[in-house]
């Protein structure tokens, strides 16, 4: 049969972010897939090298709107690894609470989008409504719905007020019945079973070979989780389970994410209840020369930061390895063999995050030019006028 190539993207109404998929199809069946990324390169690694260690945290936080905890936690742990120091216990608990809140809202967001892709807009509405409640909890605890600005090398920037904890706990408790109901609705739905089971299977060997991370690997039976494998912050002080299924299909990934929401709620509640009192910040004065690494289990998998210091107040090299960068190539193993209509949900099942994966693009070197719509129209008209002048047309 004749092969043809379907190009999706880089800008496509289906996608939230710019990425380019090339699906080679034979009839309805996808035989090969290729991914092109690099449309969202923002220069954040270079930007963070221009800021000092404290200020870089805020640039790192803006790598991605969803992972606005994961990257700063990994970065601060990398900086603390240079010295090396261990942050105070209360700071560890606060970091864990914020990180788990982020995981809950990220998984809920993925559920909403998955429902939207499948034509289940009710799931989309309900999940995003629940996400609002979690974002409210984050607003109570940190002061903002996203971009929490809670982290700094050596501790956390803001303390959680004792008065806010009961309010937050009550709010978390209030969403559990709704999640229960949605869990039953999703797990019992025969259409979802038919739609998601057995498609996009990533076998255990392939998951290991592709170095898949996070829920993508755990759905394939690879028990890979930084929080359990190399416990940090408060993850070894609270009781929780790693969710692993071995089906490897989209359904498995969905189940892993759904059950992880419960584990995250459990961790968050336990941490809020048994948070110790004490210092929250080591007040680091300087970072000695050296290099350090930091890893954190982001909602999508392990995010990894490498920071090198030469003893001045800013990093000389900062490298970010986001989980989607490792998960994205697994589509080579999962997508071929499926139909075009399944390709969208298989590609979405790894919860790809392109702004995490690509990090560069600086504003113009002067840094003070912002083009608005009016400017673009003006420039366009000026070019027309210039061409007219050159052609001698009045």
């Amino acid at each position: 049969m004749q092969k043809s190539v379907i190009s999706i993207g880089p800008f496509h109404p289906l996608q939230e972010e710019p990425e380019h998929f090339l699906l080679t199809v034979e009839g309805e069946t996808v035989v090969d897939v290729d991914v092109e990324i690099g449309y969202n390169h923002r220069g954040i690694e270079k930007l963070s090298e221009r800021r000092n260690f404290d200020q870089a945290t805020f640039v790192i936080e803006r790598i991605c709107g969803i992972c606005s905890t994961s990257h700063p936690v990994a970065y601060t742990r990398a900086v603390e690894d240079i010295i090396p120091v261990v942050v105070p216990e209360r700071a560890q608990y606060i970091r864990t609470i914020i990180a788990e809140g982020e995981r809950i809202h990220s998984h809920l967001l993925w559920y909403g989008l998955a429902g939207h892709f499948l034509g289940y807009n009710t799931v989309y509405m309900w999940m995003w409504r629940l996400r609002e409640e979690i974002l409210d909890v984050m607003e109570i605890l940190s002061g903002n719905r996203n971009n929490y600005a809670m982290f700094k090398p050596g501790g956390v920037r803001r303390d959680i007020n004792a008065d806010d904890i009961p309010v937050a706990l009550k709010k978390i408790d209030s969403i559990i019945p709704t999640i229960d109901r949605l869990k039953k609705a999703i797990l019992d739905d025969p259409v979802l079973h038919a739609r998601l089971k057995g498609i996009g299977i990533l076998s255990k060997e392939e998951a290991i070979n592709y170095c898949a991370l996070g829920p993508t690997s755990r759905a394939s039976g690879v028990d890979r989780d930084v929080r359990k494998n190399a416990p940090y912050e408060a993850y070894d002080k609270v009781d929780w389970d790693m969710i692993v299924t071995d089906s490897g299909d989209v359904w498995g990934k969905a189940v892993v994410r759904l059950l992880e929401i419960y584990e995250s709620i459990k961790i968050m509640k336990t941490c809020l209840q048994q948070i110790p009192s004490g210092e929250i910040d080591l007040k680091l004065k300087s970072i000695p020369p050296g290099e350090g690494i930091g890893a954190h289990e982001a909602p999508r998998g392990e995010t990894f930061h490498y920071v090198r210091s030469d003893g001045t107040n800013r990093p000389v090299r900062h490298k970010v390895r986001a989980p989607s960068f490792m998960n994205l190539p697994t589509c080579k193993a999962t997508v071929p063999g499926s139909t075009i209509s399944d390709a969208a949900i298989i590609l979405a099942s790894i919860d790809p995050c392109y702004c995490c994966t690509e990090r560069m693009a600086v504003r113009s070197p002067e840094g003070d030019r912002i083009y608005t719509g009016k400017d673009l129209i003006r420039m366009s008209r000026e070019k027309t006028a210039k061409i007219k002048r050159e052609m001698g047309i009045p």
Binding site: Q55, F58, G143, N144, D164, K184
Partner: protein, 212 residues
């Protein structure tokens, strides 16, 4: 197969009596939680104009302008609302007991014109009595003098600033001895002029003028 349908039906019946989840936003203003991080606001009385917030701001959203021309020399502190990331670093770094600039609960920050997205306060500047360049804000010098107590008497700029604010100094005495030499050392001076007056008294005969 039946169970999900029954549950859907129950949900539909329950939803009949529910209020909509969405809020009536434009008609009913949204009240954020107390710990919300909104727009930072300067307190013109408590701010010292020390520029610690400008130094620490990771988004470079704080700037200043020194207007030394005009009757009263002013330092204008500018906070750009559009580039602010509401991290609260300015409040943490504020030397005036974290009260000179404070995060407010203000979140409605939309503008039609980006060039108008800033807020300013004015602080009075202290100028060098010889060269007329800006030293620091008057409140800042007073704050340092009060902070270091009697040690401030080792630095004429500091104790003069403090005494002037108390109305103790007789200005005419200082004005009479305008010779850019030893007598100038007890004036309010910028670092450069202080160095030059010191060098003059050490190396050259008293009374020789130093270039302005």
């Amino acid at each position: 197969m039946k169970l999900p349908k029954v549950r859907e039906l129950l949900e539909a019946i329950k939803s009949l009596s529910h209020k909509p989840y969405t809020s009536k936003f434009p008609f009913k203003p949204y009240q954020p939680y107390l710990s919300f991080r909104g727009q930072p606001k300067y307190d013109p009385d408590k701010c010292l104009g020390c520029l610690a917030c400008e130094e620490i701001c990771p988004a470079e959203a704080i700037a200043h302008q020194d207007n030394i021309k005009g009757d009263v020399p002013k330092r204008i502190m500018i906070h750009y609302t559009d580039s602010c990331i509401f991290c609260g670093c300015c409040e943490d770094a504020c030397i005036a007991d974290h009260e000179g600039i404070k995060l407010s609960n203000d979140w409605e920050l939309s503008f039609f014109n980006r060039a108008e997205a800033f807020e300013t306060i004015e602080k009075e500047l202290q100028l060098c009595e010889i060269c007329g360049s800006a030293i620091a804000c008057k409140d800042h010098l007073k704050w340092i003098a009060e902070k270091i107590g009697e040690l401030s008497f080792s630095n004429p700029t500091l104790y003069q600033s403090r005494l002037k604010s108390l109305g103790v100094v007789d200005e005419s005495i200082l004005a009479a001895s305008r010779d850019y030499g030893r007598a100038d050392r007890i004036k309010i001076l910028c670092a450069r002029c202080r160095r030059e007056t010191s060098l003059t008294t050490a190396a050259s005969p008293a009374g020789e003028k130093v270039g302005e």
